[in-house]
């Protein structure tokens, strides 16, 4: 599923949730329908959260790929410096790229861990 499709789904689920909240706010807790509507609200929230989970999973995967790509670049830079095709200053760029790759990797792992924690 593409990013735009996920965004559309998020908005759709959010609108649905807002509509159910609107219905719930018109009911008082003593009313018989209130409990049913509350369940419907939580169902809609769970649907929205499921879409958000997919968005997060996609984001985590993308970050992981970015981190791998950055690591590849670091290796390429290091090889080029070792072969003498790039000056030794190239290692500074490689180091910066390595730091960036580690940061992206950590963020991706954090996101994945958050998802694992809340997964039912």
């Amino acid at each position: 599923m593409s990013a735009s499709e996920l965004r559309d789904q998020t908005l759709k689920r959010q609108r649905e949730l807002a509509a159910r909240h609107a219905v719930l706010s018109r009911l008082v807790p003593e009313q018989e329908r209130h409990a049913d509507q509350l369940v419907r609200v939580f169902d809609a929230t769970n649907d929205l959260i499921a879409v958000l989970d997919r968005v997060d999973a996609r984001s985590a995967r993308r970050r992981m790929l970015t981190a791998i790509a950055l690591l590849g670049l670091v290796v390429v830079l290091a090889v080029l410096v070792a072969a003498g095709l790039l000056p030794a200053y190239g290692l500074i760029a490689a180091l910066a790229l390595l730091v960036a790759a580690v940061a992206v990797w950590t963020a991706a792992r954090g996101l994945a861990a958050d998802q694992r924690e809340v997964a039912p």
Partner: protein, 311 residues
């Protein structure tokens, strides 16, 4: 006299005074040491005397204990001989367990009251049930509070723009509360049966308590106690032979002169206990030890009273 001579004289006088003080201090110190030595010798002697007296006292105490045990043994043997003699002369022990037709309705009322009382929960069980219900109610409140928090987070998810910080925070809060709510709901579901059982038991207990309070068993027990006491008085008055289960206890064959009133009260308690709980054991006055409840408390109280009689 020159100044130098005067100073020399003064120095000589000072030396004389100094040596005089030193001599007197030495004498006083010697006297003090002598007095301390004398005092410690006297104290040691007193301590030895006291130790000797304590040893003698302990020996006497041991002798007295032995004598008391011997007296108790002898009186038991005399009671036994007395009982055998009476049996040989055809005197049968009185039947204290027998319930006469006149007393039958009274005993029935007392037994009914005791049966009712045996169904009443003791303090410990009642506290346990109350605690279980309180824990369940606390859990219910926790679930309600968790649901409110989840609902708040859900409202924020519906209202905030997707992707914004507040939206992400609401999503995280909802996920957290949802998990907590699931765990609490599961716990609530598993403890529900226990809580309902506890509520039912407490309601039933309240009914039983009310029934017991309105029952005329207490009055009947007092009336029965008077009858039992009269029977014991008559038996003592007629020098009757008491049954074996009675004499085996600290009650013996006869009330002791010094504690006759106490003996009478304890004897009545024992006989009432046997009548109420239908104890017919030929040796154990109170029958086998009950497992718990009010009867166990009463059993223990009578045993204590019997023990006090022997002191």
């Amino acid at each position: 006299m020159s100044n130098l001579d005067e100073q020399t004289d003064l120095a000589r006088v000072a030396d004389g005074l100094r040596s005089e003080f030193r001599r007197r201090i030495a004498v006083l110190r010697g006297q003090l040491i002598d007095q301390i030595q004398q005092a410690s010798e006297v104290a040691e002697q007193r301590a030895r005397e006291l130790e000797a007296r304590l040893d003698a006292g302990e020996v006497r105490l041991g002798e007295l204990r032995g004598a008391r045990q011997a007296v108790a043994r002898l009186s038991g043997e005399i009671h036994l001989i007395e009982g055998r003699l009476r049996l040989e002369h055809g005197v049968l022990p009185i039947d204290l367990d027998e319930v006469s037709p006149v007393l039958e309705p009274l005993v029935a009322v007392v037994r009914e009251a005791e049966d009712l009382r045996s169904t009443i929960l003791d303090d410990e069980s009642r506290a346990a049930y109350t605690e279980r219900i309180t824990a369940y109610e606390e859990l219910e409140k926790g679930v309600e509070a968790g649901r409110e928090l989840a609902l708040d987070a859900s409202r924020a998810l519906a209202a905030e723009r997707a992707g914004r910080r507040a939206f992400r925070r609401a999503a995280a809060a909802y996920r957290r509360e949802r998990e907590r709510l699931r765990a609490q709901t599961e716990e609530l579901r598993t403890t529900q049966a226990g809580c309902e059982a506890a509520r039912e038991a407490l309601a039933q207990d309240a009914v039983q308590r009310q029934l017991y309070r309105s029952h005329r068993g207490t009055k009947a027990a007092e009336e029965l106690a008077v009858h039992v006491q009269d029977r014991i008085d008559a038996a003592v008055g007629a020098h009757a032979l008491f049954p074996a289960w009675f004499t085996i206890t600290d009650l013996g064959h006869r009330p002791p002169a010094a504690r006759a009133a106490q003996w009478r009260v304890v004897a009545t308690q024992v006989v009432l206990y046997r009548m109420t709980y239908r104890v017919t054991h030929p040796v154990l006055a109170l029958g086998p030890e009950p497992e718990g409840g009010h009867r166990a408390g009463r059993h223990a109280a009578i045993l204590t009273a019997l023990g006090r009689l022997a002191e």
